[in-house]
Structures are given as structure tokens and as C-alpha cells.
């Protein structure tokens, strides 16, 4: 039995230690907001926060999470940066198919927590790991800037 804290709630899960957090969230706990995109940390769709840091959950074994708190898209709205990013994403109508946007929002929220007023170069560095196949990048960039401006 492994204990993990997700969005402030402790869950007991019965899986192998090497099971990636992604599949624990999606297939064991039924928290499907975090998405599977590539399985090899190339696309960012599975991004969650572990102890405040954006992490590709397809690459993090659940046994390595320990007592570090996990925040997912289902819980990010409770953080100041997450709420601002979600609002900016709505205001600018960022999402198209929306499948990558959980990961985009998690990456953007982490960026704004670390760097409240990011430059374009900061945005490129923080967001280049998140692929959007619909090509919403123009609005993602604007969304990060808009969220940053809502101090």
C-alpha cells in the first residue's frame, strides 16, 4: 500500500512502486484530467506539480513521490497562480480540442509561481516541453502574459 497526497487528500493505492504517477491518477484513482500523450516526457500533457515543481507524471514512479504533495489540474484552481491561469485561458479562449491544456495550465501556473512577470524567453523555456497539436501557442503565450498581469 502506498500513501500519496493529491490536492490535499491522502489516498492509499495498491500498485507496484514503479507505477508512474500518471497511471495511478488516471487508471487507479479515476482522476482523468491529467492526460497521457507520449509516455516519454516529450509532450507535457501529463504535467502535475509535485512539491510545487512541474513534473511529467508519466516519468515519476509513485514510489518516489513519498510525502511530497501532488497537485493536479483538478486542484490547481485552488492556488492563486492556477486560478489566474484558468481565468486567462477562459478569457482568451485558448483551448481548442483541449486535450493538452491540463498540462499547459499546470506548466503555466508553475512558471508564474516561480517567475511572476515572465519574459517571452521565460515563456519559451517553461512551455516548450508542452506540445499543442491544435496550435494554440499564440493564445497560450498571451494567456501567460494576461495571467501575469492580473496581480
Amino acid at each position: 500500500m502506498i500513501k500519496i497526497s493529491i490536492n490535499g487528500t491522502v489516498h492509499d493505492v495498491e500498485v507496484e512502486q514503479d507505477t508512474p504517477l500518471l497511471w495511478v491518477l488516471r487508471d487507479v484513482l479515476g482522476m482523468t484530467g491529467t492526460k497521457f500523450g507520449c509516455g516519454v516526457a516529450q509532450c507535457g500533457a501529463c504535467t502535475v506539480h509535485v512539491d510545487g515543481t512541474p513534473v511529467r507524471s508519466c516519468q515519476l514512479a509513485v514510489g518516489d513521490v513519498g510525502d511530497m504533495p501532488v497537485v493536479t489540474i483538478e486542484g490547481i484552481g485552488a492556488t492563486p497562480a492556477g486560478a489566474k491561469v484558468q481565468k486567462a485561458w477562459m478569457d482568451l479562449q485558448v483551448a481548442q480540442c483541449g486535450y493538452c491544456q491540463s498540462g499547459q495550465i499546470m506548466a503555466a501556473a508553475a512558471l508564474l509561481t516561480q517567475t511572476p512577470a515572465p519574459t517571452d524567453a521565460d515563456i519559451d523555456a517553461a512551455m516548450a516541453g508542452n506540445i499543442c497539436r491544435c496550435g494554440t501557442y499564440v493564445r497560450i503565450r498571451d494567456g501567460v502574459k494576461r495571467a501575469a498581469s492580473q496581480a
Partner: protein, 726 residues
């Protein structure tokens, strides 16, 4: 009882809609009653169902039975706007329900099958949806007028209420719904004058936007029927190959693995969750019978296409003076596109629960009835024994116009007790997929006095249409493959277009965002630039002179040129060469011009700095939705231009995931500008034209920067190093 209620767009109905979307939009009514029958709802009963699309309950709740699927293009919002406009309902008061499979009721009016694709939805439903709304509104008005004993023409509607101004009476639709169901539907209800539109042409918030920002939006891959197991699979890496032998000893020993299913052409591992299934899959020892395609290579496939190009084609257009390659004074060139994967962010998946005499499916698909037919075939059942829960699509791009993932999942499920979710790894998604084919174009023209006087275009490529929509394949011509070639916008004198159908050996091909025009716009616009050079003319001026009879095309060209600053100097850093290039296209019923601005490094690296697109897509439903689709379509085309390439060696696809099947990321993004040209013409399609416009604009810009004309995609940077090939 007459009353004056407040309008119905309450927060509650809005929440209900989003709640519906959160579970896939899909309060799927199995065996939805047809015609004018009432249907039981979870809340108030539907009492008014004038056609296949509209349901109004006794409490006034309105439901749109949505024939089109949402894959990011914003069609849930656009379709709802069309019906809400004529029905005089607030947008937020309309709930959505995914249409069940039925070509008869929900067939796309353009394809005649229930499909979402080809940038057709608004073009197909602009009139039918509005007429459906107008007819329902007329029947509600008739019901009110009858109750009040007044002239229907003296009644008006607003926000879900019928009013009779002269007597000050009003009734909400819900109270009229039962009576309206007894009124005669008008055969040809009048539609609103566009000048009076309250919703259409005005930007509306996407109905799916909130659910797509908080993790509650449900895609096919999110289906979790009780007791579901997860499977992942490996099909033969060589298309058409079979399983010879599988050793699953180690796979079965993996914790959480429940079962290994070996079929003729694939093996699947079923587990408690995806990780168990994936670990199990990696432990399989599979011996393949690779079959007849084991020696395929990119080179052999390309050589076969070039050989096919020598065959006489089927004439598509043949008017006036002809021109043949090799004749004196004739300018000729050929252009080619590579194989491509779709790689939507949601990998292929399909969840199936197969029981005796029944099959339940959870999926996100562009083709409901094709899923139904394929599942019935694979399960040995009748179509009406198949229930489909359609979901939001995590990208379609044409890949979800196919049902190979359904066929495989149902065949696997036949060996599994209980529901099983079959999820493809990204590697499976890229390597064992269906592909955008290679296409080629062979063009020739003759110039006199700096203008073309004869033009010949031979299009070489497979016919996806012949398999996917057989009635549309007639006389040996694929109407998609020649789209953009047979109807190019320029006055070129004698005009001859041929089609040579060439199916690449072994490779399953399918539609890909931009479809046939990807090939034809790339080749025509590249060749137009070539002719402009031969005529010693500016690419913009050369085009303008050939567009005097095509004012809409000329207008978008001029609009893009003005915004892009055509002809003004471009700044260049040391070690860079810079240039601009044009694309003009008139496909999907829309007129677009894109001007690309590139910087090419001395080492050949290409940076696209800016894309400026002008669009005339006729009357617009949701303006911000159009801009969004063009922005995204440009990025899709840019990925193809910069990186897109599936190659084969020994029958196998050589790319496997996003590290070697690259797509554009945010740090490669150019500045993007989209300019809408106002229009009162019929609506055009907008999902795909942004994509097809990029490759030629970028290639022409690269020529302007370097003097090198690229005739194949993706861009080969080794051709662009300063001073020649590196």
C-alpha cells in the same frame, strides 16, 4: 396561465450544459426516438420534438441533438449559435446531446454520411440548422397565437418567450411546447435577415471552454465504465504482416497483467491499468511474418510514384491550348509531399464491452455510423446491437475519420470478460497508423508577354475517397485529390488537369488536415512563383495580373500584402538571409492569402518569423472561432513544413514519438496575424485552409531569402546553407 417570467438563461442551465459536456456532452439517448415522438428526460419531459435536432421540454429546457463532433474546431458552439439564432433562444439555454448513429437523420448534408471533416460543418448546416430553428420557432408562435386567438404575424419571440405586444401577453416556450407539437411544421420557414442577427457574426464564448480548463472535459480515453480493464497492443510493424509466434511467459508474470490476447495480426496485453499492460507488452517475445511489404522503403515508394507519373492520367479539365513538358519554351517543375502521421495529442483508443447480442463502445470519433458498422462487422452483430458513447476528441485531423482502432478493440474485447479500454502507446500511434500519403504534382506552362497562356497539372496520389466515400469517386477522378488543382484561381489560358491514381504499396492512407489541397496549393503556388521569376516579375504583381476576374481572391491577396508590408525592407541579423513569400488559395469555399517571413541562417537553419493571413470565408458564425482555427491551422502546416516526415525502411516506419516525429513547439512560433475580410457571401470552411496555406508561403519566402526553390517538403536545410549544400 399567462405569465411574464424572467428570461430563462439561468446559471443553472449553463451549468447543466457544462455538466453535460463534462461527461462527454453525451447524455446519450440509446435508441433515441425519432421524428416528433416525445422522449423522456432526466428532468422535465420533452414535449416538443419537431425534427431530429430540437427537443423542448415542458420546463423550457431546449436540447440540440448535435450531429457534428467537437475536436477543437468549435463546432459545438457554432452549431448551437445557428439554431439558437433562429429559435430566439439565449446560447446558454441550449443543452447539447450527441446524436446517435444515423446517416438518415444525422448525415452531413455534404457527405450524406454522419461525418465531421473536410471543413464542411458550417457549410453543410448553415441553412439546415437555421431552418430547423426557424421551423420550431414558427410552431411555438402558432401555438401561442392559437391560444390567444391572435394573428401569428403579430407575435414576436425573444429569449425563449413568445410575446403579443398588442395585448401585453407572453408565454415561455416550455408552456407552449406541448401545444406546438400539434402544429403543422412550415415547409419553408423564413430565415432572419443577416442584418438582424443577434448571435451570428458576433464572437461568443466557446461552450466547452470551462470544462477544458479544469480537467472535467471527458475524451474517449477517459471512459471508465465500472470494472474496466486496460489493454495496450502491438500490431505488426510492417503493414499487412501477421503474427507467427508469441512467447508471453514473462508478460504474464508482470503484476497486474490479467491476460494476453493473440490475434492473427496483433497481440494485446490486458491489465488492471495501463502501466501493467505496457510492462507486459514490453516483455512479449513476438515473431512476425512480415509478409509482402517487408522490403518497402521511402526510396522504393518514391520511385513507384515517379513511375506512376509517367502513366497517362484521367483528364479532369481540358480547355484550350495545351502544353507538354519538354516542348520548346515550356517551363516544367514537379513537387512532392511526404508521408505524415496525424499524432493527435489523444492517442488512439477505444473502449469496448462485448456481451452476447450487444456491444457497447466508448470513443471519440468523427464518424459515428462507420464506427457502428465496423463494430458490428468485427463483433458479428447487427448495427442496432451496437451502442456508442461518443466523446470529445483530443484532436482529429482526419485520423478519427477512420475506424481501424474500433476494429482492433472489438476483436480484442471478444476475448475479454467485461469492458476493456484499448489504449495505443504513442509509438503504436505513430508506427502502426494510417498515414497521409505522399503526393506529387507535375506542372508545365508556357508564358507569352509575361503571362501564362497554357497550363498543365498532373496530380499523382492515392484515392482515399474511393475507399472512404465510394459514391464520390466517379470516372476515375478523386475530387479531393484534385481539389485546388482543377479550380485554381488564376487566369492561365489553356488549362489541363489530369489525375493519376497511385496507391502506395502496403501503406494504409487516409485524410489529413488540409487533405488534397495540401499537395495542390503547395505545387500551384510554388509554380506560380517560378513563373513569376521566369517572367521577371514580382510574385505579388504577377499574381495580381492573373486575378482580374477573381475579386475575392485579389482582395485577400492585397489585404495580406498590405499587412505584411510586401516590398518594404526586412531587417536581418548577421549570418541570416531573409525573405517573404506568398500563398493564395481558394479551397474549402474560403479565400486565404498568407505571407510568410523567414530568416535562413548561413548554416541553412530556417526560422519562420511571421505569418500574416487574410481570410474571406464568407459570412462568419463565430469570428473569434475563425481566427482560432486559422491560427491553429497555420501551426499545423508549419509543423509539416519544418519537420513533418514519416519514412520507411525495411517496411517499418522509422519515427516513433515526438522526439523524432517533431511538431512545432512554442519556442519555434512565429508572430501570427489573422485578418478577417468582411463578406456577405455564403460561408466557407475554416478548419483546414490555414494548414494548406503555409508550405508554399514558407517555400517561396525561402527562395526569396536564398535563391533555392524547394520542391519537396519538409524543408531540407542541407540545401539552404550559404554557398551551397553542406
Amino acid at each position: 396561465m399567462d405569465m411574464q417570467p424572467s428570461p430563462s438563461p439561468s446559471g443553472a442551465s449553463r451549468r447543466d450544459l457544462l455538466r453535460g459536456l463534462a461527461y462527454g456532452g453525451l447524455l446519450l439517448a440509446v435508441g433515441l426516438p425519432l421524428g416528433r415522438l416525445a422522449v423522456a428526460r432526466e428532468d422535465a419531459p420533452t414535449v416538443f420534438a419537431p425534427d431530429a435536432f430540437i427537443r423542448i421540454a415542458s420546463d423550457g429546457a431546449a436540447t440540440l441533438i448535435m450531429p457534428q463532433v467537437e475536436m477543437g474546431q468549435g463546432i459545438y458552439t457554432a452549431m448551437t449559435m445557428l439554431i439558437a439564432e433562429e429559435l430566439d433562444l439565449p446560447l446558454a439555454a441550449v443543452r447539447l446531446e450527441a446524436a446517435p448513429p444515423s446517416d438518415a437523420l444525422y448525415g452531413n448534408p455534404i457527405f450524406k454520411v454522419q461525418a465531421t471533416g473536410g471543413s464542411t460543418s458550417v457549410r453543410a448546416y448553415w441553412t439546415p440548422m437555421r431552418k430547423a430553428g426557424a421551423a420550431a420557432r414558427a410552431m411555438l408562435v402558432q401555438a401561442a397565437a392559437k391560444r390567444w386567438q391572435v394573428d401569428p404575424a403579430a407575435c414576436e419571440t425573444q429569449d425563449g418567450i413568445v410575446r403579443h405586444a398588442a395585448s401585453g401577453r407572453s408565454l415561455p416556450y416550455g408552456e407552449l411546447a406541448a401545444a406546438a407539437s400539434h402544429m403543422t411544421p412550415p415547409s419553408d420557414p423564413p430565415l432572419k435577415d443577416p442584418k438582424t442577427f443577434r448571435l451570428l457574426g458576433k464572437t461568443q464564448t466557446r461552450l466547452d471552454i470551462e470544462a477544458k480548463g479544469n480537467g472535467t472535459a471527458k475524451y474517449g480515453i477517459d471512459a471508465l465504465p465500472p470494472g474496466v480493464k486496460v489493454a495496450t497492443l502491438s500490431s505488426c510493424p510492417v503493414p499487412g504482416g501477421k503474427i507467427r509466434r508469441v512467447d508471453d511467459t514473462q508478460a504474464r508474470a508482470v503484476a497486474g497483467v490479467r491476460q494476453v490476447v493473440v490475434l492473427e495480426d496483433l497481440v494485446a496485453v490486458v491489465g488492471d491499468h495501463m502501466w501493467a499492460a505496457k510492462k507486459g507488452l514490453d516483455k512479449l517475445v513476438i515473431e512476425w511474418d512480415e509478409g509482402p511489404n517487408a522490403t518497402l522503403s521511402t526510396e522504393s515508394l518514391r520511385a513507384a510514384m515517379h513511375e506512376a507519373a509517367k502513366r497517362p492520367g484521367v483528364p479532369v479539365k481540358s480547355e484550350g491550348a495545351d502544353v507538354r513538358p519538354g516542348d520548346a519554351g515550356v517551363i516544367s517543375a514537379s513537387y512532392e509531399l511526404p508521408f505524415l502521421a496525424h499524432a493527435p495529442m489523444e492517442p488512439m483508443n477505444c473502449t469496448v464491452h462485448l456481451r452476447p447480442g450487444a456491444c457497447e463502445i466508448w470513443i471519440g470519433t468523427q464518424v459515428m455510423t462507420m464506427v457502428q458498422a465496423k463494430a458490428a462487422q468485427a463483433a458479428g452483430l447487427k448495427p442496432d446491437q451496437i451502442t456508442i458513447h461518443n466523446h470529445l476528441l483530443g484532436g482529429g485531423f482526419g485520423r478519427r475519420l477512420e475506424v481501424d482502432m474500433v476494429d482492433k478493440a472489438v476483436r480484442i474485447a471478444a476475448h475479454v470478460d467485461g469492458p476493456v479500454k484499448v489504449v495505443w502507446t504513442r509509438e503504436e500511434d505513430i508506427q502502426k497508423a494510417m498515414y497521409r500519403s505522399t503526393y506529387g504534382s507535375w506542372l508545365s506552362a508556357r508564358l507569352e508577354n509575361g503571362k501564362p497562356v497554357a497550363w498543365r497539372h498532373t496530380v499523382v496520389g492515392p484515392s482515399v475517397i474511393a475507399r472512404w466515400l465510394p459514391p464520390a469517386f466517379s470516372g476515375g477522378v478523386d475530387i479531393d485529390a484534385i481539389d485546388g488543382a482543377a479550380d485554381q484561381p488564376y487566369a492561365v489560358g489553356g488549362f489541363h488537369v489530369d489525375y493519376v491514381r497511385h496507391e502506395p504499396q502496403g501503406v494504409p492512407t487516409c485524410f489529413w488536415r488540409g487533405v488534397g489541397p495540401n499537395n495542390n496549393i503547395f505545387s500551384v503556388e510554388s509554380f506560380i512563383d517560378r513563373l513569376a521569376r521566369e517572367a521577371k516579375n514580382d510574385p505579388l504583381d504577377f499574381r495580381r495580373a492573373l486575378l482580374t476576374a477573381n475579386p475575392r481572391a485579389l482582395q485577400v491577396l492585397n489585404t495580406a500584402a498590405a499587412h505584411a508590408g510586401w516590398g518594404t525592407p526586412l531587417a536581418a541579423k548577421a549570418g541570416e538571409r531573409v525573405g517573404r513569400g506568398i500563398c493564395l488559395q481558394t479551397v474549402f469555399g474560403s479565400f486565404l492569402s498568407t505571407i510568410a517571413e523567414v530568416a535562413v541562417g548561413d548554416d541553412g537553419t530556417v526560422r519562420v518569423r511571421r505569418l500574416v493571413t487574410a481570410v474571406d470565408c464568407g459570412m462568419v458564425v463565430n469570428p473569434d472561432g475563425v481566427i482560432s482555427q486559422i491560427q491553429g491551422g497555420l501551426v499545423f502546416g508549419l509543423s509539416a513544413a519544418l519537420h513533418g516526415r514519416i519514412t520507411f525502411e525495411k517496411g517499418r516506419v522509422q519515427q516513433s514519438n515526438f522526439h523524432d516525429y517533431r511538431v512545432v513547439r512554442i519556442d519555434e512560433m512565429p508572430a501570427v496575424e489573422v485578418h478577417l475580410v468582411p463578406s456577405t457571401e455564403a460561408p466557407g470552411g475554416i478548419g483546414e485552409p490555414g494548414t494548406t496555406t503555409v508550405q508554399p508561403a514558407v517555400a517561396n519566402a525561402i527562395y526569396a531569402a536564398t535563391g533555392v526553390q524547394l520542391t519537396r517538403m519538409p524543408i531540407d536545410q542541407t540545401l539552404l546553407a550559404k554557398g551551397g549544400r553542406t
